[in-house]
Symmetry: C2
Subunit: 332 residues, 2 copies
Amino acid sequence: MWYTNFGPSGDIVLSSRVRLARNISKIPFGNKMSDADLEKIESICKDALPELKFIDLSKMSVFERLALKENHLISPEMADEKKSGSILVNDDCTLSILIGEEDHLRIQAMDSGLSLEKCMQLANQIDDRLDKKADFAFSDELGYLTCCPSNTGTGLRASVMMHLPALTQTCKMESIIRSLSKLGIAVRGIYGEGSTALANIYQISNQVTLGISEEDSLSRLSQIVDDIIAKERSISLEIYQANKFRLEDKILRSKGILQNARIITSGEALSLISDVRWGINLGIIKDINHEQLLSALYESFPATIAKNHNTSSPLERDLKRGEIFQKVLKSN
Amino acid sequence: MWYTNFGPSGDIVLSSRVRLARNISKIPFGNKMSDADLEKIESICKDALPELKFIDLSKMSVFERLALKENHLISPEMADEKKSGSILVNDDCTLSILIGEEDHLRIQAMDSGLSLEKCMQLANQIDDRLDKKADFAFSDELGYLTCCPSNTGTGLRASVMMHLPALTQTCKMESIIRSLSKLGIAVRGIYGEGSTALANIYQISNQVTLGISEEDSLSRLSQIVDDIIAKERSISLEIYQANKFRLEDKILRSKGILQNARIITSGEALSLISDVRWGINLGIIKDINHEQLLSALYESFPATIAKNHNTSSPLERDLKRGEIFQKVLKSN
């Protein structure tokens, strides 16, 4: 899967995502949409994109839905809600079209590392193909019409997932978050809105969709991400130079625990993984690579474990998580 | 060296020691002994035991003395004091004769595991050879005369070093110590009198030297040690059965830290080593054996590190200790 690959600037950027919010004319928006409306939208999408796999969320267990969320294929809202909804996904899961989320359609394109343009291209292709079959709600004055006014205009939200241990440790994230917010850029935790920054991973995304072109939106975000990458890299080296032994000790202990513990909670795993990632970047850890770590990270999310291994209790999951790390993080 | 070998009942017993306190007639005891007296005793011993290596402690640095203490070749008193004194040792360091400690002579025989009889034999041989050259202070009524009345009689102190994590964890050591004390058996930390039990290691020794034969003294101690071994083994299994995953987790984490940490203090090392030893005994750890662990333990004592690696600060020693564990505890 794309999310275990090491992409461009993969030392800092885990993944990129572009999503387009779209609604279809003459079908009621949001809560007013009926089950029959939903089926109509699904049928338009299947017709326009026959090669994609259709997944009906209402036929899935809670853990299966949550596992889709952990793999970024659906939003947290779609995982938690009991309401109907469905998705269309491609083979490598870089594309997922959420049907019946807040808007009729959310076209999501994702890839590893800093790859906003690649994601934008894929999303645009799909948008064009859907546009031929569906009459999208569009105003010449405002642009694409959406359920929530915050998405109206381009309907574009682009985001990158960044791992920023050095900026976090030196308490620089707060001021970065403040100044980015003034530029219309939001900083959130790993699962978007409302989620806290676990494992020093932050989601950086554009907020402005009105009165700006898609291209400008994307290039502004890219510029900001490049700046943050440069800052993180330079402060990371500063910290290492100033505290070589202590930092090596902290990072190597985390590696030792991650490779040996029998019982690991999800929270502890994220914190240990953050240390090990940092250690790989600084050259402190040479016998584990980013791909291994990403693979262990995604395999060890709670719902993914529950789904893959049919575990029934938190202790069973924590034990299985220990097994996964021991297996995946074997020294090279 | 003997102390890194896995001896009889080596899962629980690290080492055994027998020491005989002897004084020479017509030479003043204790503080009243002059430098000339000391030289006279040294000369008698060298003459009687020409194959042994003579070490003059007054010519050694503090770290060299402390390293001898860490290897059990001299007592803590001889390491700390600035007063003169010397030892005679054999090639494999199973024998050391302390000259000018509290008594004129202390004949020490040591070996790995539970091997009190073997130690007694060696000590007796040396005692006999010295007896031919020296006129030992002896009373038909009391036995061998010593500086402190607590040693008068046999002059024998036999001790075993036991690793008792299960009895410690279940808080059973206190009552064991109390009841052994009534039987004339003392329980102390790893370096004898006054030292606390680090790493769940206890020194069990006989206290009665008057009105008892050497053989009875030894067989009583052996019996008690056998009882404690049986108790430790059975409680250890009980704990493991009741808390399998939690105990495995604790032990494997300790192993992971010991194999990976960059900076380890002496105190932390002892506590981690205790867990790993226990893990080897329970079959939880299979890629490290007791010999490796004992070798790392003895190599990583503070003064031994200072002496072998010429370190000057505690941080340097803690870094070197990390290196030693990484090197010695490489998975088999």
